[in-house]
Symmetry: C2
Subunit: 227 residues, 2 copies
DNA sequence: CACCGAAAAATTTGATCATATTCTGTCGCC
DNA sequence: GGCGACAGAATATGATCAAATTTTTCGGTG
């Protein structure tokens, strides 16, 4: 890794320990589909490509394994897990429950400024859908939900929800890559209206539908892919 | 570390990598209250007391931090988190949802043999309650739920439920230590009946109540403890 | 003369790396 | 086709560097 001389440029980089940087990098790669389901990952490969030592890479990998983003493939072999239909069903169940609750909490804490910020993200998302920018869609969609989590102000629920994204992220990428960004669900407009009205149950319902539609679509694709 | 000559004694020990052993050890200590909420933990202290190298200990700690069982206390100081009432409320919400679903799934997969095994664990639990054996109660209670998870056969849900135990484990120990094992909730008998009848919704209801009662009791104690 | 506060040194602890050791999977040879 | 050597990768250790806390000391003041 390049020696940073504790100056301004990218202070956030040097501020954080290497294992944290590696973790964030890997996490993004998995979340936004730069690593495909089933793809193998080696420690040495990472130390080379990221230019970091073994220890930090090791710690990052353990952490991601613990989060279900990476999987121990038996003989000391590590790979991105392939989501089965059954896996996805479990994810759907929890995600509906948790995201609905986060939405309720977000409704309670809603401010005009927060609503504005959410709307901005939703606009970016619409644009990504129109232009068929899969990467942009994935990122904007995640950002929208992530901001909602922040507003909800519930660290434990947020952490659990975040973890679920890591599980279906790679497969979501595959689905979008195959079927484009057109008929993807977007209940965000309804959610925004309900959020502004502080209608907690309304937001929760919209969120459940948003999650359900997106996930069910994945389920459909998985059922084709799984022989 | 002592050189192990790949022989019989404790083959399971040598079979697993050191970082896994360290993880399991620490996990048990946290789950069953050998580490109190707020207690500090140092890497070097662990390398000494467990007789392991730095890297394995490091990996185990990262993993536990990622699971919410340990917490990064600002200035590179690691400790067992203190559960706030707000934290516990979030835990309660998710736990009710997930454990109920696991109970439903367990009901579907129930066999006479499984019911028998559960009953055995419940008997051990009753005995622990009578004799006021706090450690035994914590272990049996966990074992009962853990076996139910196994029967439910839903890896992702199980992993999430397990993680929640790590969050409230230390505080549960404190509560039990203070108020004994007497008026602890035990809906396990109802659950067993419903499980044998394969009444999924009945099990789910009993489980929700079991969780709710136990957790609400903790909430009450926390409200006294928090100044 | 005793006490308080601040600054500096020392110890403790965490982060990273380079290296040795062990295990697994594979390729060649019998 | 089976057995053994080799290669590659992962596990684990110890050393080294950096940061932070704690302790110690010194100067000033009541």
């Amino acid at each position: 890794m390049i020696k940073k001389q504790a100056t301004n440029p990218a202070q956030a980089d040097t501020k954080q320990p290497v294992h944290e940087q590696v973790y964030q990098t890997l996490r993004s790669m998995i979340l936004f589909g730069e690593l495909a389901p089933g793809q193998a990952v080696t420690i040495q490969g990472l130390t080379d490509s990221l230019g970091a030592g073994m220890t930090p890479v090791r710690e990052a990998i353990r952490r991601l394994m613990s989060e279900g983003a990476l999987m121990f493939q038996g003989n000391r072999r590590i790979s991105v897990p392939v989501l089965t239909q059954e896996d996805l069903r479990q994810v759907i169940f929890v995600r509906k429950s948790i995201e609905a609750e986060l939405a309720r909490r977000a409704a309670h804490n809603m401010t005009p400024a927060a609503a504005e910020a959410l709307e901005q993200l939703d606009l970016a998302l619409d644009q990504a859908i129109e232009t068929g920018d899969v990467g942009g869609y994935l990122r904007s969609n995640y950002d929208f939900h992530a901001l909602l989590y922040t507003i909800a102000d519930a660290p434990i629920l947020t952490e659990m929800a975040d973890r679920l994204w890591l599980r279906f992220g790679p497969s979501l990428r595959v689905v979008c890559g195959r079927f484009g960004t057109q008929n993807l669900p977007d209940r965000h407009k309804e959610m925004l209206d309900a959020l502004r009205a502080k209608d907690a149950e309304g937001v929760a319902r919209a969120m459940e539908q948003d999650v359900e539609q997106g996930m069910e679509q994945m389920l459909g694709v998985l059922s084709e892919t799984e022989a």
